[in-house]
């Protein structure tokens, strides 16, 4: 007779484990399918583990007051083949703790083959609906009007589970016509589209204060003077040349590494943002980049960027400090994994260990927004630290 594992079930959303607080039956007892067997306590409530099928309790491997993860084997039920098949348990459920004993339950011989469903015993929602459900008609209508899902964020749906019906949508659109409408520029639309595509990823931001006295002193010695953002850009390029994987893109199960360290920088132009690109920013020293940088800024402001000066960059620098902002959480371009931000410089007190007193320093925040699928806080922090180190020695950039 097959032995069926009693498994810690998924007891609710975000519950990963549960502690055994009471056994309601003992080994040797005859139980029905669905009968309560074990009381368990989660961080949310007390619940019960039920019998996967009818049969005799063979053993409990779980211990009282111990915690077990969802999917762990808690014990065994000895069931007839028919009973096991009835509950779809005649093939082993994929469990986290792979139990070699359950494998022996399988009478897998070559004769009398029958088609086995790939997925068994899993609750599959048959009718996915809810607030995020968009009907074919709604999609078709939005497509017709050139709208995207984000445009519908303001509509409270009246359909099942709050979904937006076509009627809701048409009312919303009719109401819009009563309000003042201005045409969004093509640049605005392009930025909106890029941000919407980018926001499909989990994006996080970390930040670090960096002393920029050295940068400010160094730029006075140069002619023409490089902007502070260019220092950040060059430092980023150097850091990426040391380890380009942090700017890699995750596609499926692969990290796609950048083929060249071409770094873009955000330039506000009219009603949007343009991102000209400095090609091979890791290959040339800072002072060789200045002229090209200034030229690109000017071309971007005039919206006359040549085709080869946009696109194809691995990362972007954005100097939100020019707006007087100290801190921001910029969003990387959809085709990029990271965006480096530079805040406004401020005089800040800094404890000087040697002098035994606070001294004024110019400080600005560096921020790094990143695709959390590719990077974690640690890697992002290390990259920022490396950039900040490089910026302390601008003469080497």
């Amino acid at each position: 007779m097959p032995q069926i594992s009693i498994i810690m079930p998924q007891l609710g959303e975000s519950i990963a484990e549960a502690a055994i607080i009471n056994f309601l039956v003992k080994p040797g007892d005859q139980v029905e399918g669905g009968q309560d067997l074990i009381e368990v306590e989660t961080n949310k409530a007390t619940m019960t583990v039920t019998a996967p099928c009818g049969g005799r309790i063979e053993s409990f491997s779980a211990q009282l007051n111990e915690s077990y993860a969802v999917g762990d084997v808690l014990g065994k039920i000895e069931a007839t083949k028919e009973e096991a098949a009835r509950f779809g348990l005649d093939v082993p459920a994929p469990t986290k703790s792979c139990d070699p004993e359950t494998v022996t339950n399988q009478p897998r011989n070559g004769t009398g083959s029958r088609v086995e469903p790939t997925i068994r015993g899993l609750p599959v929602p048959a009718n996915a609906s809810g607030a995020s459900y968009m009907s074919p008609r709604l999609k078709a209508r939005m497509h017709e009007l050139g709208l995207s899902a984000a445009d519908l964020a303001g509509i409270a749906g009246s359909g099942a589970a709050g979904r937006v019906t076509v009627e809701d949508f048409e009312k919303f659109m009719a109401n819009l016509e009563t309000q003042k409408l201005t045409k969004a520029s093509s640049m605005r639309v392009a930025v909106a589209d890029a941000m919407r595509r980018s926001w499909t990823r989990p994006i996080a931001t970390v930040g670090l204060p960096v002393q920029i006295d050295a940068v400010l002193a160094h730029r006075k010695t140069c002619d023409p003077k490089p902007g502070p953002a260019l220092y950040a850009l060059r430092a980023l390029a150097v850091a990426l040349a040391e380890n380009s994987a942090v700017a890699g893109r995750l596609v499926g199960c692969n990290i796609v590494h950048p083929s060249a360290i071409d770094v873009g920088f955000a330039v506000e132009a009219e009603d949007g943002v343009l991102v000209p690109v400095l090609r091979g920013a890791d290959k040339k020293p800072l002072k060789e980049l200045v002229l090209r940088y200034n030229e690109l800024v000017e071309l971007a402001r005039q919206r006359k960027l040549p085709a080869d000066a946009t696109g194809g960059s691995v990362a972007t620098v954005t100097n939100f400090g020019t707006f007087g902002l100290i801190w921001a959480t910029p969003i990387p371009l959809p085709e990029q994994t990271i965006v480096l931000g530079l805040g406004a410089g401020r005089k800040m007190p800094h404890w000087d260990e040697a002098k035994g007193q606070f001294v004024p320093v110019m400080e600005a925040y560096l921020t790094l927004s990143f695709d959390h699928r590719v990077l974690d806080g640690g890697a992002a922090g290390r990259l920022l630290l490396r950039i900040s180190d490089l910026m302390r020695h601008p003469e080497k950039l």
Partner: protein, 321 residues
């Protein structure tokens, strides 16, 4: 003067016999007895020699009809109950439906099937077989829902050169009434908007049209305007009218008294889904009889078939999706 659905069928047959000497009626007890439901009452007297009693062999009846059709006649066949037409299945689907395609000789026979459930009729006197016949190329399948359609569509059936399965609903025979017979009609293959609405389209046919209309009345008191499409003809199926209606409402409920499996409701949903997916604001739904033989007991029967109440419940659920 008022005329019932059943009387309209009798009148149409009388009209056909009068108009066309090639027409004759053949079936069990259609002669002196006037038919199991009196659909041929007095016709034998009025048209001597042209309303002929048949032996109790549906197979032989259709076989004879096909033979006379080959010889240029236009027989109207009465099956006592649609259920019994399965005994003539071979003659209908193998002979009649393929004849023209095999030989270029048309087969203008009309097979009248008194079909559908009435209280207490049980599994052998209640079945809806329209989907089975619609499955076969070469057959035309008509399902009139009104007195007017029963009359005009039966006349159109007799005039057609194709073999026609004429599904007349027994539930409508006596209590469905009209003031007078129509002088004009929609062509065969054209559906009818039985009620206009904007919130949901119910596509149905035959007796279920009336359940759907009653459900629409009920929903109207709740503020919903339901459009009801009466298909009239199952084959050919008027997809255009259905799609145009779904274009107005965005929601589709198909109601049929027949069983769900591979039925007319499934066909309608398949066509709408495939041809006009972008019109749907909710998953199309169907409501059919339960997938069991038709029960005898009146209470069970009422639970087995779709009713105004269950149609309204399904419609409500779909409107609120």
């Amino acid at each position: 003067m008022s005329i019932t659905y059943l009387e309209a069928i009798r009148e149409a047959q009388a009209h056909a016999l009068r108009d066309d000497p090639r027409v004759f009626i053949y079936g069990q007890d259609v002669g002196a007895f006037g038919g199991a439901f009196k659909a041929t009452k007095n016709l034998q007297k009025e048209f001597p020699g042209r309303v002929i009693d048949a032996p109790i062999s549906e197979d032989a009846i259709i076989g004879l009809a096909v033979g006379t059709a080959i010889e240029g006649m236009r027989p109207i066949i009465e099956m006592q109950f649609a259920d019994f037409s399965t005994v003539a299945f071979n003659q209908i689907v193998n002979q009649a439906s393929t004849l023209f395609w095999r030989t270029n000789v048309p087969c203008p026979i009309t097979v009248r099937l008194p079909f559908g459930g009435t209280s207490g009729s049980g599994p052998f006197h209640s079945q809806c077989l329209e989907a089975i016949y619609a499955h076969y190329p070469g057959l035309v399948v008509l399902t009139p829902a009104t007195v007017e359609d029963a009359y005009s569509m039966l006349l159109a059936a007799v005039a057609l050169d194709d073999p026609v399965i004429f599904c007349e609903h027994k539930f409508l025979y006596y209590h469905l009434k009209a003031e007078k017979l129509p002088s004009e009609a929609l062509p065969i293959g054209k559906a009818r908007i039985a009620r206009e609405g904007r919130d949901l389209t119910i596509v149905t046919y035959s007796a279920m049209v009336h359940e759907a209309l009653a459900a629409a009345d009920e929903l109207a008191t709740e503020g919903w305007q339901v459009e009801v499409v009466d298909l009239r003809s199952i084959k050919p199926l008027d997809t255009d009218t259905v799609v145009a209606s779904v274009a107005r409402t965005g929601r589709l409920l198909c109601v049929g008294e027949a069983w769900p499996w591979g039925g007319v409701t499934a066909e309608v949903i398949a066509r709408v889904s495939a041809e006009s997916y972008g019109l749907l604001d909710a998953p199309p739904q169907r409501l059919n009889a339960k997938d069991t033989p038709v029960p005898y007991h009146p209470n069970l029967w009422a639970a087995h078939r779709p009713t105004a109440r269950s149609v309204a419940a399904a419609a409500r659920k779909l409107i609120r999706f």
